[in-house]
Symmetry: C2
């Protein structure tokens, strides 16, 4: 088992990475600070892993709330359901919420833990590649609003992340591919060695060989943990983790959540950021091609769906937490492994980037 | 103008106390960090003070959201309304929310500010005595859930509190009385001198003479600021500020929110805490009588409504954020000006306290 620490002073916590961690009784038990556990999961993942988890939790109050699967349920309505359950159970401030699932469950259950009685403990138990390498680490929690993704939320760090790679064995291939978008993102932001490693080892990773998988997950988590440790509340460098996400969120928003997976939208978003950086003369043409090629090899889309309008995408991009004084702020690439946040760019290049649907 | 500081390191902020502060253009303008302001208020208070406030805010985006008045609207539904407005306006992370109203508006708008884009600035502009001396200070924000009061919320400190005593001139007498319950509470917790001052000057305070008013508000705010500075997240001494509130919340919950004012329930709660402390042999009989006498002089109820059942009250008390291991934790009095938090008490005395309806 590998342990990566997210260093945040009194809010520091470990990320445990390994195979079969859900079967490690001592490890699971130490994640419960008191005697009350609510496992929040979804109806797809719950039946696969929940029993394995709660088998270890004897002599305490353990309850499970399985919500329908999907981004469409990351809402204030679902938050209220969790609150109702916690209150019906009379769970106290000393309880803990286990978020067992992908990014939707992690964000939603994490936000519920942030708000219940003004904050209780929670543990991230990610079961998708995307959640393992990205959303489970860093304490960002949120639900969506019809007018914008992740617009209602909190910074609330988990007490631990339990990243059991065994849960990935049953992950549908489409979801696995989606997760690689976030992995490639880390290479692009400021880890050129990792990007090169991915170019060399992507086939092994996509085949889910244990060595490639654990290497990619650990390196991603170390990248994320470092950035979060420097800038917990995204007042600076953490914004770079949004590479590909401003474009990606706009696509998701314009298509309606649930059509594409988040990682698929981010995959295209990374390509759009690379193309725009190229067209602004910031990124060499060959490097841009390397980005798009790697995204393509991961089985991800590289161009946006053709039926979306530019106005629609622009409108969605204007509702973004990074924006200041009405200007859309973008994370772009000055090179492979060198992302920058900027709001000074030629707007016509942005429009051309949005217009490009690969035809 | 008096300035009291809530000392919380990087989250420190001033409480400005004085007459006519809403008319102080320079003061109001400095409360806006950027160029976007949403004033959240209610339909009673908004028409009285809103215009005075926003007159100062020129050359920026200022919008007003006036919700219906009352505790019944302190819900997730109202939270969603505020979020919708902020998103429709495309307000950015640099915006500020002004909470103009009593405790309900302060708690609700503060929680909205805590959650919008994972946290934006807000300013408390309390217009009731209760909000001035208690709820506007300390960063507790929340909405109610049908199963429990203030169960969904966050700790989110305002960037300032603007306590204009002029707003109290139009406050209905019943609401003014309700606010004195929290003032008396500070004396009882650990400020015996203040309690004695209240015994001597209560008539002046109830007559709203400017000297008595400003003294009581400042001393209350200093008490609150000191406790919050020691224990922002209520892991220790801050729980003492709940004196009278466990009983009070139970009464409010059992009666249905809105029947009694919060301060009225707290008034009875203080009497119940005093009686229970007396019956446990902790508080001298004469001191208990002084508490009840002062509450009565403030025009507040001193016994619970007769139609509530003990089982109902006990059940409501079990849903309290202070509780640990299923035990109801209570703030009781070891003396005037000496409150203690305890969960070791004779339960039959608790039952007798709940049973006592003054008949």
């Amino acid at each position: 088992m590998i342990e990566v620490t997210v260093a945040l002073g009194s809010r520091s916590y470990p990320i445990y990475i390994g195979h079969g961690l859900l079967s490690d009784s001592a490890l699971v038990r130490q994640l419960v600070p008191g005697k009350q556990v609510l496992v929040v999961t979804n109806q797809t993942v719950g039946p696969l892993f929940c029993q394995r988890l709660i088998n270890h939790l004897t002599e305490m109050s353990v309850n499970v709330l399985a919500l329908p699967d999907g981004e469409a349920y990351k809402t204030l309505g679902s938050l209220e359901l969790i609150m109702t359950r916690l209150l019906e159970l009379r769970y106290e401030r000393g309880c803990v919420v286990f978020a067992l699932g992908g990014g939707v469950i992690g964000d939603l259950a994490g936000f519920a833990a942030a708000c219940y009685q003004r904050g209780v403990d929670f543990v991230q138990i990610p079961t998708t590649l995307l959640a393992l390498v990205d959303s489970s680490v860093g304490g960002k929690t949120a639900v969506n609003h019809p007018l914008g993704k992740n617009m209602i939320g909190a910074f609330h760090q988990p007490r631990a992340v339990l990243a059991d790679l065994e849960t990935l064995a049953s992950l549908p291939v489409r979801e696995f591919r989606a997760g690689t978008a976030e992995i490639i993102k880390y290479g692009l932001i400021d880890d050129l060695d990792f990007f090169r490693w991915l170019e060399l080892n992507l086939d092994d990773l996509m085949a889910r060989t244990p060595e490639a998988l654990i290497y990619a997950v650990e390196r991603s988590c170390r990248n994320k943990a470092r950035v979060v440790g420097q800038d917990e509340r995204e007042s600076g460098v953490r914004a770079l983790l949004n590479l590909g996400h401003t474009f990606g969120h706009a696509i998701e928003h314009a298509m309606g959540y649930g059509e594409w997976l988040h990682g698929e939208a981010v995959g295209v978003g990374l390509c759009m950021a690379a193309r725009m950086s190229r067209d602004l003369g910031m990124l060499p043409v060959d490097d841009c091609a390397r980005v798009i090629h790697l995204i393509k090899r991961a089985g991800l889309p590289t161009v946006r769906p053709p039926h979306l309008g530019i106005a629609e995408l622009l409108s969605a991009m204007r509702v973004d937490k990074k924006n200041k004084n009405g200007k859309i702020r973008l994370v772009l690439l000055k090179g492979l492994g060198e992302a920058v946040l900027t709001d000074t760019y030629d707007e016509s290049v942005l429009h051309a980037t949005l217009a490009d649907d690969g035809r």
